[in-house]
Symmetry: C2
Subunit: 338 residues, 2 copies
């Protein structure tokens, strides 16, 4: 199918045609073949005017916190209200194992068979930056297909939370009612990114959940006081990061969660921060890809490739200063390749 045919299917196809066109479009966008890349860019540019109307919701949390149960419960709650819900995933471990936390669709057995839900596992190869790029592009496909909510799920390890925060309108962190857990999140800078912290499995130990809620709330206040100017949206916005309790398994609290999401969306739309956030995200995305491309071209430059191993050995063994080595290699790279 041509990019124009794919777009037609995504925009105006019947349910089955649309679903097929979405899958084909995402596969095209994930392809690394050079001729596919040109078609992909054509599709992206044609698709863009039809994107941006969904709400982009990031959900993060360590393995075992109950993310899939929560997303299934939430997703079913939303489709029951007549919405279309897409679930995408960034799973950096899938690039190692070739598997994916969402590869096994039976994880969300009810949501995955719902005609108004679209679930797509994480791309399973490439760097985290590459995987994130594919997920961003898949999100655009879901938006063009008029999905109301796009949920981006990530496992709470490594840099993947930062990637998800960088592509969503609202970033939620799922936590267990457990003290060590929130220290880890603070340490990793994840808590600071959270617009909403969700304490899951609150029914198992209601006292611990309430203690955790109080603790995290006070941590969030302290973090906001010492805010990093890069993430200072909390200082100036009307929205103050919140902590809610839920039990995804029992379905308790999902309505309260969705209420908080809607309040956030309303505020951020009214004060213009949702738009600003998206503009900044698009620009950082562009620069992230440029940086990656520059480094890749550098490493593939024939003379750099030849000299690099010796330079690295000289630098690490102290025969040449790091800055001298960098200047030498940069001069080589500035000359035309071949």
């Amino acid at each position: 199918m041509t990019p124009a045919q794919l777009l037609e299917g995504i925009l105006h196809g019947s349910a089955a045609v649309q679903r097929r066109a979405m899958a084909k479009a995402i596969t095209l966008l994930e392809s690394t073949r050079a001729d596919h890349r040109a078609q992909a860019d054509e599709l992206l540019t044609a698709m863009l005017p039809h994107t941006g109307k969904s709400f982009r919701l990031g959900i993060s949390g360590v393995p075992g916190v109950g993310k899939s149960t929560f997303i299934e419960t939430l997703g079913l709650h939303l489709v029951a209200q007549g919405m279309k819900v897409a679930v995408l995933t960034i799973d950096p471990s899938s690039t190692v194992s070739g598997g994916s936390i969402l590869g096994d669709k039976t994880r969300m057995e009810h949501l995955s068979v719902n005609p108004n839900a679209y679930i797509r596992p994480s791309p399973s190869s490439g760097t985290l930056g590459g995987v994130a790029e594919k997920t961003r592009e898949a999100m655009l496909v879901c938006e063009a297909a008029a999905y109301d909510v796009v949920i981006i799920e990530t496992v709470g390890v490594g840099q993947s939370e930062i990637a998800v925060h960088g592509m969503t309108d609202m970033f939620c962190v799922l936590q267990l009612p457990n003290a060590g857990d929130d220290l880890q999140a603070i340490k990793k800078g994840v808590m600071e990114l959270a617009d909403l912290v969700v304490i899951n499995k609150a029914d198992i130990d209601p006292n611990a959940a309430t203690r955790a809620q109080a603790q995290i709330t006070s941590s969030l206040r302290l973090l906001a006081m010492h805010g990093n100017p890069d993430h200072a949206h909390h200082n100036e916005a009307l929205w103050q990061p919140k902590v809610v309790q839920i039990s995804a398994l029992k379905g308790d609290g999902v309505e309260g969660f969705w209420h908080a999401v809607q309040e956030f969306r309303r505020l951020q739309t009214a004060n213009g921060k949702l738009q600003t956030r998206r503009e900044k995200q698009a620009l950082s995305w562009m620069w992230e890809r440029i940086d990656f491309g520059l480094k890749q071209a550098f490493r593939h430059h024939p003379q750099v490739r030849e000299l690099l191993p010796r330079m690295q050995a000289d630098v690490s063994e102290g025969r040449i200063a790091a800055s001298t080595a960098a200047r030498t290699l940069l001069q080589l790279a500035a000359q035309q390749g071949e």
Copy 2:
């Protein structure tokens, strides 16, 4: 003076000659003139075999924590034992104000006039990466001049701690006996980098200091448990990050501090981690400078420069996908400039 003459003065000059040669060498290394840069590289390469024997000590802490008093007390303690001590600074604010936290040498009035101490303020222009590079090179000059200890001081803001951690053998964080303070350090990931946490002004409120010591010790243990593999030196090494109390103003605890430093140095030398850390630092330094250089060359490429403003506007206003813009600009940059 030629690089060879400078090196001769640094290595074998009398006290006054050495001090003059050091200052001239550092000024040459800080110069951005292209002809100076070639001489600087010549000097660096000739100097390298004479470097690496000093102990590189990083000292960080927010303004007001008492860093200069502490460094003066420590420095005088070390010169009294017959050592030569250099103090360098990374002060990112100096690149804005043109001033420097160490510009006013009267801050360390006794140490600064000691013939066995060498104090040099932060370079006052350029990016943090550029400033850090100059400080690294100045450190090599001090090492070639046979200084036993090189202290790198930084203000506890922004990314400067990470830069100092990336160029020292041991990274110490000064804290006040105050709870909000250590949460901030955890959040910023600074605590995680600390090999030693020093609670200063412990005499003002001994109970608070003891509470802070216990709190930080337990935080450090939790952080080590959930260790980021990138900073996992604490998990495998024999050294466990420690917390000590001092009162720099009264001179209490400085001996205990230095004892901990020596123990750290002995362990890390014996288990090979000191060497590994330096090798990794040199390689990261090289890559950091390469990344910076690539980005700079990209931004200065004539066609990129011409197209970039429009591309940025198109991306942030949603007319073109970020990945498409990145690919377009990278293709332009890959063509020969002019």
